[in-house]
């Protein structure tokens, strides 16, 4: 009795087995019918004898006719994409060992023409009482199209994310419920907000925040939220993480730098769409630089016009006096000399304006940069200079090898040197000598440079004034009656910048000034 209880009842087992087979056959038929209608390929693997059935549709999906592929397990395994192979096999093996009834796997199978088909493979197992799988059957669905679409979408999303994150323009989007749905790093940078403080905000709260950080005279206007509408917003720089430049004391008549406003100018454009994902998109562009440049250009023009009008006003007055009144010879000569000098200064001003404009336009074809011996350039410049000036005033000292070369445009180099030499002479009304030294050095970034150092013992520039000397039209307050346009040093600076050189100015009021222009010895990029 004990034995019979342990030993399996063979009869029973056999009949159970037969019943299971019958059931399986029935369910397989049902299953096949259903899935063939859904255009899926059917497979059926009998593990008891390792026989495999692959439906004609299964093979057709890969471009084969029914008799081109044998019905065996290896037909499937040999067609799996190498990258998917191990995972696909493991899924099946794990499934067989488990007690699950259902599995799913996605892998690529090779088509007859060599292309790959993405397959969604779903299988069901029939197991015996010990969970040993007797039969596994399932269906292949061709998901190539779906997969490609998904892949494209994912790639598109990544692309969009990259564009939005790296965009120099600020972008804020709102969802249908009027909550902020995204802000990009550029927007945070231009407003000083943090990601966390914005992400839970409603539109009205966002409007309030924008209003708080904007300038009163040019505030953020939420009422202007209609499609394609732009507005300029001035964001006060005190709210921004970047440091506010220190406002300089106004020492000069025209100080362009002082006009730099303590706010950042943003141009906001609104995009409204019927799209349900982001019906409102706010687009912010930082136009601070453009605004300031425009302002500077306007001021430059009006100052240039003013500077031209000044000598002309004097010429006008002097000539009227000459016409209307009688003067003794001395006075008449004095007036004519004044008029002559004024005409010279107008010519100088116009020439320098043109030089500046030419350099600022940076038409590279105008310049001819090349390595050339500095001594030759110096000699030529001095020869030009001596036509107008007393050459004995300039002492030249070379501290370099006479074949040393610099990388420069010869016309611009001469123009810069003439400017600093004539300044040195002009601002030494006591008639003291001017020294010109040619030196070599290696600068802080280890580049070899050759410098022209012009030393005078003239009126000098005060410490407070030195920082303004490169400003256009700026003139020091101790120039008294010395004629000048205030453009010379601005021009010199442009020329040295063009050469990627350096300028060094040292001066003591009443003692003299030393200006050094350093040029590279070779082409640097």
């Amino acid at each position: 009795m004990t034995t019979s209880a342990v030993l399996p009842d063979v009869e029973l087992l056999l009949s159970e087995n037969a019943r299971l087979r019958e059931e399986l056959q029935k369910s397989k038929t049902d299953f096949t019918k259903i899935f063939e209608q859904l255009n899926d390929g059917i497979w059926d693997w009998d593990l008891t004898d390792n026989s495999v059935y692959l439906s004609p549709r299964w093979k057709e999906m890969l471009g084969y006719t029914n008799d081109e592929l044998p019905n065996e397990f290896e037909t499937w395994s040999s067609l799996i994409h190498p990258d998917d192979f191990s995972l696909a096999m493991k899924t099946v093996e794990d499934f067989l060992k488990s007690n699950e009834t259902f599995y799913e796997s996605i892998h690529r199978l090779k088509q007859k023409n060599g292309q790959w088909t993405w397959i969604l493979d779903r299988g069901v197992a029939i197991r015996d009482a010990n969970n040993k799988p007797l039969r596994v059957y399932g269906a292949h669905t061709d998901i190539t199209k779906l997969h490609t679409t998904e892949e494209t979408l994912m790639q598109r999303e990544r692309e969009l994310n990259n564009i939005v994150s790296f965009s120099p323009d600020g972008i804020v989007t709102f969802n249908q419920e009027n909550f902020i749905s995204s802000v990009n790093p550029a927007f945070l940078k231009m407003t000083g907000f943090t990601h966390d403080e914005l992400l839970t905000l409603q539109k009205s709260e966002f409007d309030q925040k924008m209003l708080e950080i904007s300038e009163q005279t040019q505030p953020y206007q939420k009422s202007h939220l209609t499609h394609d509408n732009s507005q300029l917003i001035w964001i006060l720089k005190k709210y921004l993480p970047s440091e506010v430049p220190k406002v300089k004391k106004n020492l000069s008549k025209f100080n362009f730098k002082l006009r730099q406003q303590p706010y950042r100018v943003l141009k906001m454009t609104v995009y409204l769409s019927k799209d349900t994902v982001s019906p409102v998109i706010l687009y912010f562009r930082d136009v601070t630089l453009e605004t300031e440049m425009n302002q500077m250009k306007n001021e430059f023009l009006s100052v240039a016009a003013h500077e031209l009008r000044m000598p002309i006003a004097s010429i006008y007055g002097y000539s009227e006096l000459l016409i209307m009144r009688e003067f003794d010879d001395m006075t008449r000569k004095e007036i004519l000399q004044a008029v002559h000098g004024l005409c010279n200064s107008v010519v100088e001003l116009v020439n320098q304006l043109l030089d500046l404009a030419r350099i600022e336009a940076q038409c590279s074809n105008v310049f001819e940069f090349k390595r050339q011996p500095i001594t030759k350039l110096i000699k030529e410049t001095l020869a030009d200079f001596n036509i107008y000036n007393d050459f004995r005033k300039i002492e030249v000292h070379y501290f370099i090898d006479e074949f040393a070369k610099i990388y420069a445009d010869s016309d611009q180099f001469k123009r810069a040197l003439i400017n600093i030499l004539s300044n040195a002479i002009k601002y030494s009304p006591n008639g003291q000598n001017v020294e010109l030294e040619i030196r070599a050095r290696t600068n802080a970034s280890n580049d070899k440079q050759i410098g022209i150092v012009v030393k005078d013992k003239g009126i000098g520039i005060s410490t407070e004034n030195i920082e303004y000397i490169f400003d256009k039209f700026w003139r020091a307050d101790n120039v008294s009656d010395i004629i000048g346009s205030g453009l010379g040093m601005a021009l010199v600076k442009e020329i040295v910048d063009l050469h990627h050189g350096e300028i060094d100015v040292q001066s003591t009021l009443g003692k003299g000034t030393t200006v050094s222009l350093w040029f590279p010895t070779s082409h640097t990029t």
Binding site: S314, L321, M324
Partner: protein, 127 residues
């Protein structure tokens, strides 16, 4: 009769020189000049001029408008005739100039002969 004191304030040497020549040959005028706002105030205090020709844009701490405001807000000096000389001729520039209390706003270039007429008129009115 005391000479009419004329003060010319301009940072531009040629402008000062032009006005000096304009008024120089008339013995009834005494000519003074200053090249900055601060210097102008020193001359005003020392000389108490009758007429000031004042440039508006000048470098330094005080510009022409500041000097004009100083003159017109002082009981001692407000009777001085102040004519602003400026290269700026826009409506709003003139309005700002006159708001500072100036008696006249003259744009550059100006006619030196017209300045002589203005001075003669003021002198005539005083007599």
């Amino acid at each position: 009769m005391a000479k009419t004191k004329i003060l010319v304030v301009d940072d531009n040497a040629q402008m000062r020189n032009l006005l000096r020549i304009t008024f120089n040959s008339y013995p009834q005028y005494a000519f003074f000049q200053a090249q900055s706002g601060q210097e102008a105030i020193d001359v005003i205090k020392a000389e108490h001029p009758d007429i000031i020709f004042l440039d508006v844009m000048m470098p330094g701490e005080l510009d022409g408008l500041n000097v004009c405001e100083f003159v017109k807000s002082s009981d001692e000096f407000k009777s001085i005739f102040v004519a602003l000389l400026s290269a700026k001729g826009q409506k709003e520039d003139i309005a700002t100039g006159l708001k500072s209390g100036a008696d006249k706003y003259i744009t550059k270039p100006f006619s030196p002969m017209a300045l002589l007429d203005i001075v003669a008129e003021i002198c005539a009115a005083k007599v």
